[in-house]
Symmetry: D2
Subunit: 142 residues, 4 copies
């Protein structure tokens, strides 16, 4: 039975993406994304709740992340949930749930800083864009 496994997030990057360039020429990027929620508690006080998500982006999306995404930026992410097993340092099996991105879009028309060779940094408004990664078999190098 075919299923649907879809995640839609709008949030802010917790840090710059970490990008690894793999041997076969492929790339993978990791970053965290915060989605904030507000609600009123019983006393009527406004409370903020932040949820942190682990985002993984492959190939073209990893390269896009490396070039354009910075800590704090607000983005739209569409992807699928994947829970991976790994062994921690004590040899115990642990699980981590990630969102594997299929589409990333930069929101808010926020200017982004492009690093300059001379150490200067000029604010260059980068027109917000949507990037899409066509589905392929994900390599799992970790």
């Amino acid at each position: 039975m075919a299923g649907i496994n879809k995640v839609i997030l709008v949030g802010n990057l917790g840090k710059d993406p970490e990008v690894r360039h793999l041997e076969g020429g492929s790339s993978v990027a990791h970053f965290t994304l915060a989605t904030n929620d507000y609600y009123k508690d019983k006393s009527g006080t406004r409370v903020e709740r932040t949820e942190w998500h682990n985002i993984t982006a492959w190939r073209g999306l990893a390269e896009m992340a490396e070039k354009y995404l910075k800590k704090g930026q607000q983005i739209y992410v569409e992807g699928k949930l994947r829970t991976r097993q790994y062994q921690d340092k004590d040899g115990q099996t642990r699980y981590i749930t990630e969102i594997v991105a299929d589409e990333i879009s930069m929101l808010g028309g926020r200017p982004h800083t492009e690093g300059q060779a001379n150490g200067q940094s000029t604010e260059q408004p980068v027109e917000a864009q949507t990037f899409r990664q066509e589905p392929e078999i994900d390599q799992l190098p970790f």
Copy 2:
């Protein structure tokens, strides 16, 4: 900054929901949902990949789950991601990511088996329905 944290799943229940009736009169249900994916590997062989999701449903949705949802049934779930911390038996901090359901819809018009007191089981077609839980502050009794 307000964010969006939305999950949309179509899959099959891995087991009957476990429902707990809390002291304040509230209820919470837990179950797992499998979403299946198919892809062709390099040799062209069709491979199935199953992703398992932990679903939590509160209040009215928990009661709906208790009444209508059974192992194997195909459903639509809409909700939000939440990662919880807990201490494992060795006192170590661990994390689990769940989908807290906002809406559940039964798909496929699949007949559902209602347990009978006399041990017999009659197939009773249950009209597929959508159930929605209005947002409230989630209690976290575990």
Copy 3:
């Protein structure tokens, strides 16, 4: 500014898809999809409301629709909204809003009827599958 334009539907086909094979070798399918909604009116009576959607599928999805989709079948459709202008028979400009499908998934494991040359019809369970159409420039032959 990049935007998001996404539609997610689960409903039943109102009729068999109409498929046109275009000169360049491409195909386009049209069909209607009903999504049903239930609510209680002021007197507490349960009322059903049906919304009808115009679905357009291109290329591989059109061929999938031609092969596998039949009137009455329950499917998941993901796509984008597009409003087209056309001239009615009186030369007036009219508008129609369609959902251009990016992904279609058959739900419910419902057996589908394959027409047979001898006029007989055998129920053949078709394994539910998800089909995806990679984004390209849509041709607009009508």
Copy 4:
């Protein structure tokens, strides 16, 4: 059969919302939302395509729209598709497809201008927020 009818948009308001306060104390807001798409045509030229959507918001969301939403602002809208019939000035039956909003979130932390009694306008950063309208029976006053 229960269905799913869901639309997710990120785009910019084409004009300030038009809000009507109805006799029963309810309100309804209308505005248009542009979602922009970019693609490369056959010659490799980057082409922009804008899709316009008719958004309708009821009750609390209408009041939120009246207070906070302005032409040009980037927002997230979640809602459902609804196609309405009406008679045009020539007595002909026409159809219009709208998105009835269930949730609206302001994106980008963009400051918004609050009209001032003295005719001055001060830029007041409004913390982006998500507003939700609980489902009720929609009144249809037009």
